[in-house]
């Protein structure tokens, strides 16, 4: 595990290593696949080690899309919420077949969010709200999935609480319901570390009954927030018009 130690020596790798050790829900086969990939990695370069972990995670992910299993106890018929920097959302949509350039999408987005829900959905027909796996938050017993002890007054409040990357500019928040065929799952390290850019603020659940985002260290200190991952849903599932927060 000297390679993990090498990763841990880097400030930005330490959280990932802590999470690897804290994860409790992977099968033995998944762990063996990860360890085998690390052992086979000849370089001690931290970038190479990161890539090795990513490739191993992707391999496991391809074999088992949701390695942590279905999250029992999470109702599916509640509003789920998801936030993204407005620019990131525009850049994401620009990658789809219907995508225009991000700047055009952003310009259109700001007009479209002024329409009512019916008009917006007619215009965003089938538009995915994210890539697989989609990360979402929820609040049991509340129609507002973003409900939290701390008020989301600014875009940075939302980013901090939901553990989004520390980007600038506004965020756009979506509230939607899951279609019957989509089940939410609590995320594991596989979902957090299979992408090129790691989910730095992820914290794995230490039980099967919770999934939590680790918020940024802001003042006042923020509580952790529920999080799940699920298959891609589209704008057809929106229950309110998306809102931009600056």
């Amino acid at each position: 595990m000297d390679r993990l130690q090498r990763l841990q020596d880097e400030t930005l790798g330490a959280q990932a290593v802590r999470n690897l050790y804290a994860e409790e829900r992977l099968s033995d086969a998944n762990w063996l696949a990860l360890i085998a990939a690390l052992v086979a990695q000849p370089s001690m370069d931290v970038g190479a080690i990161k890539l090795c972990v990513i490739h191993a995670m992707r391999h496991i992910w391809n074999m088992t899309p949701f390695p942590g299993g279905i999250a029992l106890g999470v109702p599916t018929k509640i509003p789920y919420g998801r936030a993204s920097s407005s620019e990131a959302f525009a850049r994401l949509v620009s990658r789809s077949p219907g995508g225009t350039s991000a700047s055009t999408l952003l310009k259109a987005l700001r007009r479209q969010m002024l329409y009512d829900l019916k008009a917006l959905k007619a215009q965003w027909k089938g538009r995915p709200l994210g890539l697989f796996p989609m990360w979402a938050t929820f609040e049991l017993g509340s129609a507002d999935p973003f409900r939290h002890s701390h008020t989301f007054a600014t875009a940075d409040d939302v980013r901090a609480c939901l553990g989004l990357p520390p980007e600038t500019g506004p965020v756009v928040s979506f509230i939607y319901e899951l279609p019957a065929a989509v089940s939410p799952h609590y995320p594991t390290i596989i979902e957090a570390y299979a992408a090129d850019s790691w989910n730095y603020y992820f914290m794995p659940s230490n039980t099967n009954l919770a999934g939590k985002t680790l918020p940024w260290n802001r003042t006042p200190a923020l509580d952790t927030h529920h999080e799940v991952v699920h298959q891609v849903v589209t704008a057809d599932q929106l229950v309110t018009v998306p809102k931009e927060i600056w």
Binding site: G99, T100, Q123, S197, W198, W216
Partner: protein, 384 residues
């Protein structure tokens, strides 16, 4: 847990070579800097926004260097990483001295690259860098790539020649992606050019688009204070859609707009009149009376007149609580419908229609204005 903010100042103090390596590492996933897992180019875009002018120039050079290296040997770049690099055209290359050169590289790459995601990024990059190519280029691209690039092609065409964009829409398959892209482009055009400039181009082709494009579009332009109904109702299916909306009270349109639309007006108005009568028969009451009468005010046929006469009869029989207003409206309608009046008079005479009494009262009241009509009715024996 630290906030782990990216230390942009330290990155911006690097040499140009180090800066280029940092950008490449973030694009290719070798950096530990926390970023958006789905959008690898966001970190460099963020860095660019944090930079002062001189540092921005360094970033522009670095991104352009990477672009040149990709153009010279694309095999050394994974396609997803190349796509992220190309997407840095916005914001890094848009205002840079490399803008025109980068756009030319994109055009060259577009001819060489097969990967559809990279091609989409290239077309969007060409648009962002404000290189306007003839619409024929994009039509050829559509023939090559099909619907996979529909959004990028819509945008490229719309920004070059809005009319060419409208004509192009007549050739596409209206997938969900195409509908989404269409409304993105339309909203962007509305923001840039305004509804009044855009409306004429739309009205020329509107009747050829499917209903899941036309209906939201009419609503969208309603918000802008422009009615596209005249063009939309060239097709009967749209006319009937709006007719139903008016009758159900869910349309923001006036009945007059609907009734004056469409080319087959005779057929359409007859259909409308029958629907209005049906509604009237189930929704008696002040609101229904007034709405039906208002809707009928541009009609001139027998069914309509029959309805108006029924309404008159009701008002005389005391069923309506607002007799004066309703009666005046019905009277006005009947007096204006000379041709239908004569026909109706004839029919009611032959069939001993119970409306006859009401009709006679109306005719007598109309004598001053429509003397010839009444005389004709009497001469033909239809009014006794």
């Amino acid at each position: 847990m630290t906030t782990a903010d990216v230390n942009y100042a330290s990155i911006l103090n690097c040499s140009r070579a180090q800066l280029r390596d940092w950008i490449r590492d973030t694009l290719t996933g070798q950096s530990l800097v926390p970023g958006n897992p789905e959008i690898p180019e966001m970190l460099t875009a963020e860095l660019y926004r944090h930079a002062e002018r001189s540092a921005r120039v360094d970033i522009e050079h670095s991104v352009f260097d990477l672009l040149l290296s990709y153009a010279r040997n694309s095999a050394t770049w994974a396609e997803e990483h190349a796509e992220a690099l190309i997407r840095l055209a916005d914001p890094v290359l848009v205002g840079s001295e490399h803008r025109a050169e980068a756009a030319a590289i994109f055009v060259t790459l577009l001819k060489q690259v097969d990967n559809v995601n990279v091609r989409r990024a290239l077309i969007q990059g060409i648009t962002v860098l404000r290189l306007r190519l003839p619409s024929s280029v994009w039509l050829e691209e559509y023939a090559r790539s099909g619907d996979a690039l529909i959004g990028a092609l819509f945008e490229a065409l719309a920004l070059t020649e809005p009319d060419a964009f409208m004509q192009f829409t007549l050739r596409v398959t209206w997938t969900a992606a195409a509908v989404d892209a269409f409304f993105t482009v339309i909203n962007a055009l509305l923001a840039d050019r305004g509804a009044y400039e855009l409306a004429p181009s739309i009205q020329r082709v509107l009747h050829c688009w499917p209903s899941d494009v036309v209906e939201p579009l009419v609503t969208l332009f309603d918000h802008e204070g422009i009615s596209l109904l005249g063009a939309a109702m060239e097709r009967e299916e749209f006319w009937l859609f709006y007719l139903r909306s008016v009758l159900q009270g869910t349309a923001s349109l006036s009945a007059r707009d609907v009734l004056s639309g469409g080319t087959d007006s005779r057929h359409a108005r007859r259909t409308f009149a029958l629907a209005a009568i049906s509604e009237y028969s189930t929704q008696r009451g002040h609101a229904a009376y007034v709405r039906v009468l208002e809707q009928l005010s541009v009609c001139d046929n027998v069914e309509v007149l029959q309805l108006a006469t029924t309404i008159l009869n009701d008002t005389y029989d005391g069923h309506c609580t607002v007799r004066g207003e309703i009666r005046d409206m019905a009277m006005s309608l009947i007096k204006d419908s000379t041709g239908a009046l004569t026909t109706l008079a004839s029919e009611s005479s032959r069939t001993h229609d119970p409306l006859r009494g009401a009709l006679r009262r109306v005719l007598l009241r109309a004598t001053n204005d429509k003397g010839c009509c009444v005389r004709r009715a009497r001469n033909t024996g239809t009014l006794v």
